[in-house]
Symmetry: D3
């Protein structure tokens, strides 16, 4: 998965800026449960603290956006989650969007994330794709079609970092924008860096030290 994310990121950067996709020390290979997020936390904070002088911005490449609040406390560099970036861009590109997820059990957490971002009324559905075993692209194509035809979605968000790279083929087949969070986070992060903008550290993410 790290390689796939790196590939997407380099494709977007196309040589205009440098990207490095670093695995989080101590994190489980896949973030599914809330416990998994906790297990990843110390490694994530450590990476950002260690590399604050090396990079202009940080992207959290998990669509659950774990620990964005804490990371923004520890660095003055922009920290962009692939969840937030893709959900916010989706709200600009169509009347309502749908988020495709890998597992029915992750629907509540995604709905909670949408509410945290005040986006619950912009999202028309969170749809799990069918169970693994069949072809991945076909399963997400079917879920995307259902979102468009049954829910009235006009934009599709891929709700998991593991789906990176699937956007363009789905977009061509669905005839609607399909958003890859890695790309969306890089749009935002590279743009912020270019103009010297970062998150506010006035109160919510104040350094507190």
């Amino acid at each position: 998965m790290t390689a796939a994310i790196q590939g997407t990121a380099e494709g977007f950067a196309s040589g205009q800026f440098e990207v490095a996709c670093l695995p989080t020390p101590g994190a489980p290979p896949f973030i599914q449960a809330y416990q998994d997020q906790i297990q990843a936390a110390p490694g994530m904070l450590g990476l950002v603290r260690e590399h604050e002088g090396d990079w202009d911005a940080f992207v959290v490449a998990c669509h659950s956006d774990p620990h964005l609040d804490a990371l923004r406390e520890v660095t003055r560099r922009p920290v962009v989650g692939i969840g937030e970036a893709s959900l916010r861009l989706a709200s600009m590109l169509g009347h309502r969007f749908s988020v495709l997820v890998t597992d029915p059990r992750s629907v509540p957490a995604k709905e909670d994330l949408l509410r945290k971002y005040h986006l619950e009324t912009s999202c028309v559905s969170v749809r799990p794709a069918g169970p693994p075993g069949h072809d991945q692209e076909e399963r997400y194509l079917a879920a995307g079609r259902a979102a468009i035809e049954q829910d009235g979605a006009e934009v599709i968000v891929l709700g998991c970092a593991g789906l990176t790279g699937l956007d363009r083929r789905l977009q061509a087949r669905l005839g609607a924008p399909v958003l890859d969070g890695v790309v969306c986070a890089l749009i935002v992060a590279s743009g912020l860096v270019r103009h010297g903008i970062a998150h506010s550290r006035l109160r919510r993410w104040s350094p507190q030290g």
Copy 2:
């Protein structure tokens, strides 16, 4: 603070059930920043896993309700946060409530918590008390008065575990209900245990293992 919480809890239990107030291994003495919550996480998960067979329910005695989601994944026993319990009871006891907090920087996190619980329209204000140095009771009395007179609050929630024990004197002086989260969480937890009810583990807090 552990002793004060233990005192409040024993006062409420008054011998009808047993309570033990355990400090979280590895946690900072005071949870203020998002980073502090992360630091407390492994110890919290460990305590619940270790004691699942010993206790009928768990109360998280920090008004930020850190890690309730993850804790509910790891135990079938009720897990009640003093934040959630006090905020929900407050919504039953008056037209609108106000939450008193210790520091202006914690206002955004409290507002985020209210939104997570879908309570943002039931809460009329989150008010920081004046800076430490003066008498604690007087500072919270002044904040409570302002909440009632300027914001229209009818109920006051003490928004920090460190304020436990302050409720009754403030209630008498303000002439309005003042809620102590430790008491509220015990009302809910002891009631759930008595009838054999716990949180759902269907999807959001499914065991996932």
Copy 3:
């Protein structure tokens, strides 16, 4: 129905406190229409005025929560509705809850009640059970299953006092919390009494005399 409610209440109290289930003079046997609520009003106000010195708290055992506002004006004792208590506890025990009702015509009034409590976004559906004639437990089991599987409910609320006692068997068969309003109201009322908390009488429920 009075006997069934008394039975549930005594079961929960299990001798630690006393409960008396009093029929409302002049009220129709079953509260279905808004007119029925009006017919019950004078008797309800009379009971509370008459017994204010005798009891520590009052529970309104009708899931429509009729006249809570007026009752709270006439007594300083806690007044808890089985509707409000069960709906608020439900919001703590799962991602979204569903309310099962007896009749399709009562759906709008229940939705109105949820809105009054600012709970409309925590409730995923109000579902009528099938028409009487078949076995009651089976009908509510089917409605509960539909709520879980089709609506994504994680918690079930029994939306009528007449269903008291059905909670535990449904809970066992559905594998999800099922809330009986009588139990929920007693959890809240007994807890409030134990610590000396009651509703605010500052403005909304001021004595006005």
Copy 4:
């Protein structure tokens, strides 16, 4: 007050239709508390049942809109509350409106009414006028000015039937629309009657008999 309401109504009707302002048997002279609403209920239901054959529509001339739900169950004629009519018309006539009320204690009930009608985000403030004793018009003028200048209101709603007749002078002095509920209810009721429209009796207000 009955005479004043009758005067306003006849002024609006100006001979094109007939209006009769009937006092409610058994009701207190002024509806302030929730208890007062209950006391008025039997008389209100009785009046509507008795006169269903005589009149084309019913207006409830109390700005708290008591018992609209029950009244709509017992008659197929339009039942229009002066509260609802004035609040909904206000939402068409400016960006945000403010409601002026007679007593600070009635603010919560008015906010509850606005929420019942899904109008809480269209209303920018509920403002009590100053205490009686001074000139009535001057007190409401001052409250209206504060609503416009401090709250950004563009329309003023007179939140009590007792204020009927005050609208035109205030409108001239404030330079903004001022709505009298009696007039607004007659606009709606006479219009519905003219085209043969009434409330739905499908579910919420079904006859239930």
Copy 5:
């Protein structure tokens, strides 16, 4: 369509006031796309400016309510849209309403309009009728039935001026109120004129000249 609207309007006025249905110079015959609204704008503004001295109020007889904001800037006479009038009256006549539209592509714009009026939670569905070719009345009857039975609608709004005149037959067959925007706008406009009320010109629709 102009003749049909004129017919409905005269039927409602029944000689008590005068109505004239004027076609908009330069407008396309049917307003479907956002571009069509723009094409109609200069003609609409021109008509209102030209006739301000001739008429007491203006009704915009397109259910998308194009350019109400701009029109209210240029005249002190009431300007009522058939969309807004019918949607607001619908919210008074039943628990939830549904809007029937002619084309699936117009659903998003109608949802946007509902949100502009803060009515999105009062509307239970926006339903396109089946494709043209079959009998118009039967198609809208089927859509109305689906709204009532599947969505829980209690009131139906005809979401296009081209449907004027269909309301009474549908109302009789559906057993629920069916609202024709032309009628609703005339109820509001004639009522406002009768009492001398118009929109606020304080800020949002200030003359700005």
Copy 6:
């Protein structure tokens, strides 16, 4: 103003892409009233139609985002409004943001725009700067300070294209992010173009021809 916008745009592009700032034929020099937007419409549609083959994306450099809906119907290229881009980025960079506007009369229209984008709960205030005559930077500095200190804003959005270029000095003096819509729109537009993403044309913005 055109030169200032061109300057900001070229500064952000810094030679990596080409930008041209074209005045709209027939538009008034300054868009203040709703009528001004209408006057600008034909020229805006004409520009986009004429240049669809020449440019990869279009930015509407007016913070009221006029006619985005219609423009997205006529082109398959991304169309980004400086209002929407800056308001959405602001919601990622702090707990709540405030929008500074030039005139108290434009507050309602800005609030309406926020509601259209479902951003009304992310924005804590819309604040007009003091009247012209004093130094522009000082007036917006004072408004920004008030937004931060009195409203709790953590991010400031410059709510008018005419303020372009003011962001960096204000950001330095306020110690909080200050967003210039021209920059924000270019971040979004250039990012979308780079990866081949545009708005959905499924329903809301379908070509309709």
